[in-house]
């Protein structure tokens, strides 16, 4: 029956990713519209819900332009290399835990594969998308694209380190790299036990998916569109979908690692896929909130922020988790209180004493 399992999950994941990505595009435009005192698209279908369909049809009908001086193979391969890893991540996401659920019960965890090294898999896969972006930037034979690609490499490499170190705290608490185990261990959501870790991970992830205020590689006002400047039609759509699929992946990973996945907080209601979905939308809403509020940081400030702010804090966080791990069990709430206080204090002190975003200057 193994092949049946694979087929079912391939269909489920593709349907899940594609429908949610489509709705994310709509949600983003509507929500950001509200933030900006306007309505957002509301003409196509009731409340504009068919807008993504209209966009997709439009973009499919666009001429597929390949500029004459590009490296054709790399140019054509780049969108796929960018998009595919974002979907691959969902292979290890536990959509619902084994056991009793709100609507149905499961014998085993509802994920395509419950890898023992799920967390490692996620970070390994998600860094592949960088390769796609660099390929696009190099092969496009365009100076803006090249600048975008240069920024991409620097940004992705720097932000991955604090991000992974922050997640390591979770791994220490849960004692496992498997996502299903991590969700199982979350009797209280790990965001309470690991507020600083969440903060660092979330900022790092925002940078990894090139969202504002770290959206430097496609900074419209600076380098026009960055790496995807020479892409049109469906190739551009792949980049676009990849970006949203990655936003979806980050929202999902955050929900699973820090917000308790499919569990209802404190188990007040039976676990269900629905709760995961709600959490994903919640995280995505926060991403949109940040996007529609903050200006973009500069390249040197971006790098400084990763190396001088996030990295030291993530090391301190890791040390704290390890120290707290030596305490006997039963101190959950004191630790929560301590960690929340420490997180706020550390961020404030570090921001005021050691590193401000404006502190880095161009040489």
């Amino acid at each position: 029956m193994d092949w049946l399992h694979w087929i079912i999950y391939v269909v489920i994941i593709l349907a899940f990713v594609l429908t949610l990505v489509m709705s994310f595009i709509l949600i983003e435009r509507r929500v950001v519209g509200r933030f900006q005192l306007r309505l957002g698209p509301n003409r196509v279908g009731p409340q504009g819900i068919l807008q993504p369909v209209a966009d997709a049809v439009k973009i499919l009908l666009k001429e597929d332009i390949i500029p004459s001086k590009v490296d054709r193979v790399v140019h054509l391969l780049a969108p796929i290399v960018t998009f595919a890893p974002a979907v691959l991540i969902f292979a290890v996401i536990p959509f619902q835990q084994a056991g009793n659920g709100l609507f149905f019960d499961l014998k085993s965890t509802a994920s395509m594969v419950d890898l023992d090294v799920g967390v490692l898999f996620i970070f390994a896969i998600s860094s592949i998308s960088v390769v796609g972006l660099v390929m696009a930037g190099w092969a496009s034979n365009n100076k803006y694209a090249l600048l975008g690609a240069m920024r991409t490499i620097a940004q992705m490499v720097s932000y991955e380190i604090p991000m992974v170190l922050a997640v390591l705290g979770i791994v220490l608490i849960a004692g496992s790299l498997s996502l299903a185990d991590i969700v199982d261990k979350q009797n209280i959501p790990f965001i309470l036990l690991q507020p600083l870790g969440f903060f660092i991970y979330f900022l790092g992830a925002t940078a990894e998916m090139n969202r504002s205020p770290f959206d430097l590689l496609e900074a419209e006002s600076e380098i026009v569109a960055g790496v995807n400047i020479e892409y049109s039609g469906m190739k551009f759509a792949m980049f676009f979908l990849g970006e949203y699929a990655y936003a979806l992946a980050v929202s999902t990973i955050t929900s699973v690692l820090f917000l308790g996945g499919a569990k209802f907080p404190w188990g007040l209601l039976p676990q269900s896929f629905i709760w995961l979905l709600v959490k994903i939308l919640l995280v995505f809403f926060v991403i949109l909130w940040i996007r529609s509020t903050l200006p973009r940081v500069r390249v040197d400030q971006l790098m400084g922020f990763a190396w001088k702010f996030l990295l030291p804090l993530s090391l301190i966080n890791l040390f704290l988790v390890a120290a707290e791990g030596m305490l006997p069990s039963g101190f959950t709430w004191p630790i929560v209180a301590l960690n929340v206080t420490l997180a706020v204090a550390l961020v404030v002190i570090w921001a005021n004493r050691f590193y401000r975003v404006g502190g880095a200057k161009v040489a």
Partner: protein, 367 residues
């Protein structure tokens, strides 16, 4: 091992999204650091100055609308002031006050766009800009009430205004004036202490006091560099000498100072509007003049403090129905000349917001 590197030359514009129209910069980069910058202008040249020579004095007014299209009313004003100076034409007091009201409304509107687009260049994804559009929209409604237009007003006439304001205008303006300080507070809440905004603007794109004066910059760019020079005070025109207001000046001359000067100037403009509404006399709005104005032989330079700086019209008359020569001193163009000195050594992203902080309108730069 030393890698061989060489600078790259990037053409930013004329279709770049942040060049505020069709401005082009040839920028030489070393990595992301700017080594050289050469502004290339002329993509929007329409020969406005030459066109003035083939139109009567009144017919040229609508063309001035097309210079700085974000502050059309101010352009009208600068032009008619120059012609009135040339012909020694008196303007009735009501018209003078209404002109001040229009000019200050226009200043608020133009500064809203300047600040909004600068922060947009900074990557704030339209949110502050759209908040500012909200108030600009109210101003445009007021202008529409006055003259039926929302962008190119053609409202000023030689010797006064084309017609009086409608009765519902003043109550609507009073409402706007009472609400506006609250909205400016709202922008300050969103922007003033934003860490990223401070990091991006403080100490970036510095224009020193000496260089600002030597490059004959004017407007918020000059005042941001700490020079207290405002034609409304230095060479008062209309009724500005009867109104109380302050001239804000920056200290460092960086982008933040220019932004700050604009925010304070908006508050001062609201103050001027309040006083002007109070003092507004009744009476005529235009001096009776012959259909074709024929100023005596001579030349005159009329200048005003436009939102972007000193806007001047230099007109020579040979007693004909059209100017013999009309030169326009456009503040955007002259402020732009200092761009290279402000950005060399900074990064690509700084150049974009420095350009945004100068607040250029290409209709005026290229004429």
């Amino acid at each position: 091992m030393a890698l061989k590197t060489e600078p790259i030359v990037v053409n930013m514009g004329p279709q770049h999204p942040s060049t505020h129209g069709v401005f082009r910069m040839r920028v030489t980069f070393d990595g992301e650091i700017i080594k050289d910058l050469e502004p290339v202008m002329g993509y929007l040249h329409r020969g406005v100055e030459k066109l003035a020579e083939s139109r009567t004095y009144t017919q040229f007014i609508p063309l001035t609308d097309r210079l700085d299209y974000l502050a059309s009313m101010t352009n009208n004003l600068a032009y008619v002031l120059a012609v009135e100076k040339l012909g020694n034409i008196e303007v009735p007091p009501r018209a003078q006050y209404l002109r001040v009201i229009m000019a200050e409304m226009m200043r608020i509107s133009s500064h809203l766009m300047a600040v909004g687009f600068m922060i947009n260049d900074m990557g704030a994804f339209y949110t502050p800009l759209l908040y500012m559009y909200r108030e600009r929209e109210k101003l445009l409604d007021l202008f529409e009430m006055v003259c039926g237009q929302r962008l190119t007003y053609n409202y000023m006439r030689i010797g006064g205004l084309s017609h009086d304001v409608p009765p519902e205008f003043l109550p609507a303006l009073k409402k706007f004036v009472s609400e506006m300080p609250g909205f400016i507070d709202e922008y300050d809440q969103l922007l003033k202490e934003n860490e990223i905004l401070l990091a991006r603007t403080k100490g970036v794109g510095i224009l020193s006091k000496e260089l600002a004066i030597n490059s004959s910059a004017s407007g918020p760019v000059l005042r941001g560099s700490g020079v207290k020079w405002d034609i409304r005070k230095a060479d008062p025109y209309l009724v500005y000498d009867k109104l109380n207001f302050e001239i804000p000046t920056g200290t460092v001359g960086d982008i933040y100072d220019r932004y700050w000067v604009r925010m304070v100037e908006m508050r001062q403009s609201v103050r001027i509007l309040e006083q002007a509404i109070e003092q507004l006399p009744a009476g005529e709005i235009r001096t009776a003049l012959p259909h074709l104005v024929r100023p005596p032989c001579g030349e005159a330079y009329g200048h005003i403090e436009a939102p972007k700086g000193e806007l001047g019209f230099y007109i020579i008359s040979d007693t004909g129905v059209a100017p013999y020569r009309c030169h326009i001193r456009a503040p955007s163009l002259i402020n732009l000349t200092a761009l290279k000195d402000m950005v060399v050594g900074l990064m690509l992203a700084d150049a974009i917001i420095t350009l945004g902080s100068i607040d250029i309108v290409l209709g005026e730069v290229d004429r």
